[in-house]
Amino acid sequence: MAARAQPVGGTGRAAHRAAAPRPDAPRPVAIWPGTCAALGVALLVLGTLAAVAMRAEGGSGFGPSEASALRFTLIQASLSAVFSVGLAIPVARALARRRFAGRRVLITLLGAPFILPVIVAILGLLAVFGRSGWISGALGAFGLDPLRIYGLHGVVIAHVFFNLPLATRLILQGWQEIPAERFRLAAQLNAGPGAMWHLLEAPMLRRILPGAMAVIFAICLSSFAVALTLGGGPKATTLELAIYQAFHFDFDLGRAAVLSTVQLGLTVVAAVLALRVPVGEGVGAGLDRAVVRWDATGRSATLLDVVWIGFATLFLMLPLLAVLVAGAPGLLSLPAPVWSAAWVSVQVAALSTGLLLLVALPLSASIALGRRQLGEIAGILGLAASPLVIGTGLFVLIYPVASPAHVALPVTALVNMVMALPFALRILVPRMQQVMQQNARLALALNMRGPAFWRRVIWPRCRAQIGFAAGLTAALSLGDLGVVALFADPETATLPLQVYRLMGAYRMEAAQAAALLLFILSMGAFWLLDRGGKFHAEA
């Protein structure tokens, strides 16, 4: 199939018609496992919300302060998504076009902010950008005023810090899915950078960006501690804070459920808008050759790429360096409970990753086979669901039948899986679509279906994406405080919970060391699983 002549842009209607499966067309793998997975996730998210709503007694609705929280939430989440994705495009393009020593390590490390516990990331960011941070210190040396980080711009900077790496990885993957042959052909046709952009890169971005934006918008919708702290005060009240207030300050479960419904509604709207953008037809097939970019050899293109990679590296690495510097002194003298918590966290992460693969693989396959709406929306729900609502809902549901402490770890793993699912789908689905388009007809002609198709066609071609998704889930699960605080007893503390406990007991140095351990474990798990997917990020 790869040898078949295709238009350079891969946008021909013929290709589209050939790829889009008819509803009654035979399929190499069944759709129902994916449908079940989607329904299961939707049931968990909506069921917990319903459980909270049912426990409500009267309660107040949506007032002016909720309206202003909604307004602020929308503004900060939109700005955060636009800036994260906007900045990620040149960074990903530069990373896609350049090969240099340490590139793999850099790409892995760039993902780190995403998996840091919130409180640690805030302290790292402020060590660089804060009033007495490194930059303000340098400015002070020249007699200049310190940076003013607190405000809406601070919220956006923090959210870009968290999400730029994710956006970069998603977009970089898009670039890597353009086969080398396309670039070769375009170069033979004398396409300069501009033409290359119009023919190959812009269509790819049109396919990737809406989904990436929707995911980041949804993550930022449920921001709370970051938005409040960097926002500088109650002006930066988000919906999630209003939900927290409804639970903690007023014990108004009705209002918590209403607010959570609004949050879910916004996310579904974002997801639907992203899905309305025509996906195009993928980029067609190639022979997985190394990409050579004849268009990017000029001096100005090189300089531009160096500047962008340098910007991303400094912006993302300096706060991490601060985390490292703060944590290193205490790392060797960590108290024993931290190590046992680390072991608990590793188990939760392993369980979470296993669950994720069970759900995400069939789900992404059925999305690739045309069940796009259901799968994507079920997938993104996990992002918009307030952890507090999921946790409380599960608590209400589990409490009558079992002691919450006994199921603390499986429940935490389950919730972590649901939170990681949207990311996993963004990673898996584009590749899965490609694999289906290129191989489904041949496989059916050979009567290869079900397990054999999974083993011989999907697995070898999606290994890189599966490894990336599994690594991301393991790392996220390790770093997430999640719902464990609602369920845990003293013996089942996870590492992030232990970091908070150390801080709550004034032990800042030990807390920062434990955070560094968490960071090392997360990166280790990510590296291990991501690398398991071989040639990936090399293409």
């Binding site: 426990r55 302060s65 409180i119 805030i122 302290l123 402020l126 060590a127 804060g130 009033r131 007495s132 607190y150 709370f224 501690a225 409040l228 702290t229 960097l230 926002g231 500088g232 005060g233 109650p234 002006k235 804070l241 927290y244 207030q245 639970f247 903690h248 300050f249 014990f251 108290p335 409970p337 409380t392 608590f395 209400v396 409490y399 009558p400 039948v401 079992a402 002691s403 402490a405 006994h406 199921v407 499986p410 605080a485 609602l486 845990a488 007893d489 003293p490 503390a493 919970l497 232990q498 908070y500 406990r501 150390l502 801080m503 709550g504 007991a505 004034y506 032990r507 800042m508 807390a511």
Partner: protein, 325 residues
């Protein structure tokens, strides 16, 4: 696999209760942590009670109350330990608590009379600063100074709510003006105490809302005398932390025994250097070296729980209005 797991866990629990009685105490998370009073308290009580003491941690005081409300009369908790006087009115209204009779000679700045909740420790909210910097003497001076402070959000944090009550108790109807004065001093507002204290230690602010006993931690545990708590002349708002017994408890006698133990020397001597608060009953050895003197009764501010509950929403509105501009 899961039903089996749950069944196994239930079976294990049943076997345990058959052997020794178990007393379940719900408390906030930092109490049960390895660095809090929990482990030492468990050891000391189990040495005398012939029972098993089980702590269950649930976030902070407000989360603790939310959890009790969620569980209702079916709760397996016998004791709830860790509510403060901003929460006791709401806790009392649940009707889930039983009267208790605890005998103690309290070392609180005021007489304590409550037939439902018994105090186990207390402290004063205060702004902590670096000892080498000059501290303002009251809220007005703080508002006029250019000192930068970090505070906690009253909607998500106990100290944050304490600060609201402090300003309200000290200034009453003038509270909005005080908040106006403070608004340009506030660098930021955090979700909880840990974030705020971390920001202060990182140098993001000159002062942080914490307790008068915070410098004692640095002095005793870290031999660091660089932190001090600013003494305000309008007085300091108090946090009194209490415990109560649930009416639905199946271990009523053991629960009473625990509450009496709570005000004994064995429990109270653990509190200062694990919870970093003043003990509710002075232990025989007195306060550890490095603990600040307690204030006189007229400088110890505390709204009665009914007033605190009634003023809460109004005080929050004033705070939001002043800081949202």
């Amino acid at each position: 696999m899961k039903p089996l797991f749950v069944a196994g866990a239930l079976l294990a629990a049943t076997v345990a209760t058959a052997e020794t009685p178990e007393l379940v105490v719900y408390t906030y998370d930092s109490f049960v942590s390895e660095w809090g009073p929990g482990p030492a308290v468990k050891e000391a009580f189990e040495a005398t009670c012939g029972c098993e003491l089980k702590f269950v941690g649930a976030g902070d005081g407000a989360a603790l109350l939310a959890r009790i409300k969620l569980e209702g009369a079916r709760s397996e908790a016998d004791i709830v330990l860790g509510l403060d006087t901003n929460l006791t009115a709401a806790a009392r209204d649940t009707g889930l608590f039983a009267p208790v009779a605890v005998e103690a000679d309290y070392a609180l700045p005021m007489a304590w009379q409550d037939d439902t909740f018994a105090p186990y420790d207390w402290g004063y909210f205060a702004f902590v600063h670096n000892a080498d910097a000059d501290a303002p003497a009251n809220f007005r001076a703080l508002g006029e100074s250019d000192a930068k402070i970090v505070i906690q959000d009253p909607r998500s944090s106990t100290p944050g709510l304490g600060l609201l009550m402090w300003v309200k108790a000290a200034y009453g109807d003038e509270a909005p003006a005080i908040w106006d004065g403070l608004s340009d001093n506030i660098v930021t507002v955090t979700k909880g105490w840990s974030e705020a204290y971390g920001l202060f230690l990182e140098g993001e602010a000159d002062m942080v809302l914490s307790y008068t006993t915070s410098p004692a931690y640095h002095l005793i545990a870290e031999e660091d005398d660089s932190k001090a708590a600013a003494v305000f002349d309008e007085g300091h708002y108090m946090q009194v932390e209490v415990a109560g017994k649930l009416a639905a408890s199946d271990q009523t006698e053991l629960a009473d025994q625990f509450l009496q133990f709570m005000v004994s020397d064995a429990f109270q001597s653990i509190i200062p250097t694990t919870n970093w608060m003043y003990p509710a009953v002075m232990p025989a050895g007195g306060l550890p070296e490095g603990f600040a003197e307690t204030l006189s009764a007229d400088k110890s501010l505390l709204l009665p729980e009914g007033d605190a509950a009634a003023l809460r929403d109004e005080a929050l509105d004033e705070w939001l209005r002043a800081l949202s501009q």
